[in-house]
């Protein structure tokens, strides 16, 4: 009985705290980006101000269906975050994550504006680009640890990154898609606020836009939790290192974001697949050769 109660409390904690951390990271992102561009930048709490404002605004609805998908997307992403942080099945988490991202794409299509249609198509292309790598991460982690469960993977004697350095690099490459950073911010960028680069959100206003923003906060936490899984192992101090690694990965992404221009979808797709298959295959082959001796 007590076990269940603790679990429920843990889940509530994750659902409440992860968007707060995600929003804070998003504020930090804007601050660091501004400093890199020689500006002062907004307050670190700016994303929270934005969401609070959006929740108060009037909503303009183009039809009754398209908002529904955004809320579903949020639900699925929350489920993914809870699943990963509670130490659940990584493979299940990845598939639920895909459904969550698909719901967002459907929301874009359902709002039936030419801009949001282009945005949705770009989002689909991005999913095509990063999905193989995310799957490969799960396969690699399973191959190395013998389990798809996060709690087993981070309870090993050595961190997974020692065995899967190339897959980790490929994942960092893919992280740029997931965090919506340049050069791979084709469907929804943080910095461009014009037409196509905000395409998928064209018809969303007020509360719906706030929900999209909150979903992105959860997504940030979810994406960084993969980095965590790679670094954490049985020793307690390693969890501190894992958090630091997540933070370092995030800062690296911000710097890449500010240093790169947006690429075309063809470059994004081919480079992501190239990196995934080269690093992924090389890592798995080396790992299988090593395990023979």
């Amino acid at each position: 009985m007590n076990d269940i109660l603790i679990k429920i409390l843990k889940i509530i904690g994750i659902v409440v705290i992860s968007p707060l951390v995600g929003g804070f990271l998003s504020g930090l992102d804007r601050k660091i980006s501004a400093r890199l561009q020689g500006r002062k930048g907004p307050s670190i709490l700016q994303p929270f101000y934005d969401v609070r404002k959006l929740l108060q605004k009037e909503q303009i609805r183009v039809n009754s269906a398209y908002r529904f998908y955004v809320y579903l997307s949020l639900l699925f992403i929350i489920f993914t975050v809870v699943l990963i942080i509670m130490g659940g099945d990584l493979l299940l988490a990845i598939f639920v994550l895909t459904i969550g991202s698909l719901m967002f794409v459907l929301g874009g299509y359902a709002s039936s504006s030419p801009y949001s249609n282009i945005g949705s198509e770009r989002e689909l292309l991005q999913m095509m680009a990063y999905e193989p790598c995310v799957l490969l991460v799960a396969i690699g982690l399973y191959y190395q640890s013998g389990s798809f469960f996060v709690k087993d993977i981070i309870a090993q004697d050595k961190p997974a990154i020692i065995y899967l350095p190339a897959i980790f690099l490929a994942f960092v490459y893919i992280l740029t898609f997931k965090l919506r950073k340049s050069p791979f911010d084709l469907s929804m960028s943080h910095h461009g606020h014009q037409e196509i680069v905000k395409g998928i959100t064209t018809e969303f206003s007020g509360e719906d836009l706030a929900i999209i923003e909150i979903t992105h906060w959860y997504e940030t936490i979810m994406a960084l939790s993969f980095v965590y899984i790679f670094v954490a192992f049985s020793s307690p101090i390693s969890h501190l290192y894992a958090v630091l690694a997540c933070f370092a990965a995030f800062i690296l992404e911000i710097i890449i974001d500010n240093a790169c221009a947006r690429v075309t979808w063809k470059t994004a797709l081919s480079s992501a697949w190239g990196v995934t298959f080269f690093f992924g295959a090389a890592n798995l082959i080396v790992l299988s050769l090593l395990s023979k001796f």
Binding site: G41, Y49, K57, I60, T201
Partner: protein
């Protein structure tokens, strides 16, 4: 409490301006003035925007566009006319196709005169609009 004050998102529309005021509006985003430190973002979408900045006079061609942009913005919203052309038509007011200032098409809350309006006065106009918005909301509530 007016939450827009902390994150006013702007939509910028060029009526029939000579681009002088437009350049000054965009100059507000550069490192020297950096309006993003107040949470101001230049959106490209009326459905995301809180404040409509219009430069240039309204003419027969764009009056419907201006009206539509205004209608597509979710409430509460404010309109700031930037530059003398947007305020009254300026030197173009005598032209055969020019109707006049922006207030001929939609209700304007703040007029920022100047040719071209300085970035400082544009920022001041936006801040004034935010103050007026507070009054508007308070009036509605009482």
């Amino acid at each position: 409490m007016n939450y827009i004050q902390k994150s006013p998102w702007i939509l910028h529309y060029d009526g029939s301006s000579c681009n002088g005021c437009d350049i000054e509006v965009l100059a507000c985003l550069t490192p020297i003035y950096d309006v993003e430190r107040f949470g101001i973002i230049n959106t490209g979408n009326p459905k995301h925007a809180d404040i409509l900045l219009i430069t240039g006079a309204v003419n027969e061609q764009n009056i419907n566009v201006v009206k539509q942009l205004y209608d597509q913005m979710p409430n509460p919203k404010m309109v700031v006319a930037i530059g003398i052309c947007a305020c009254s038509g300026g030197i173009f007011s005598e032209c055969y196709n020019v109707i006049g200032g922006v207030d001929k098409a939609i209700p304007v809350d703040v007029y920022v005169p100047g040719c071209a309006a300085r970035p400082e006065s544009i920022i001041s106009g936006v801040v004034k609009a935010l103050g007026l918005l507070e009054e508007k909301i308070a009036k509605k509530a009482s």
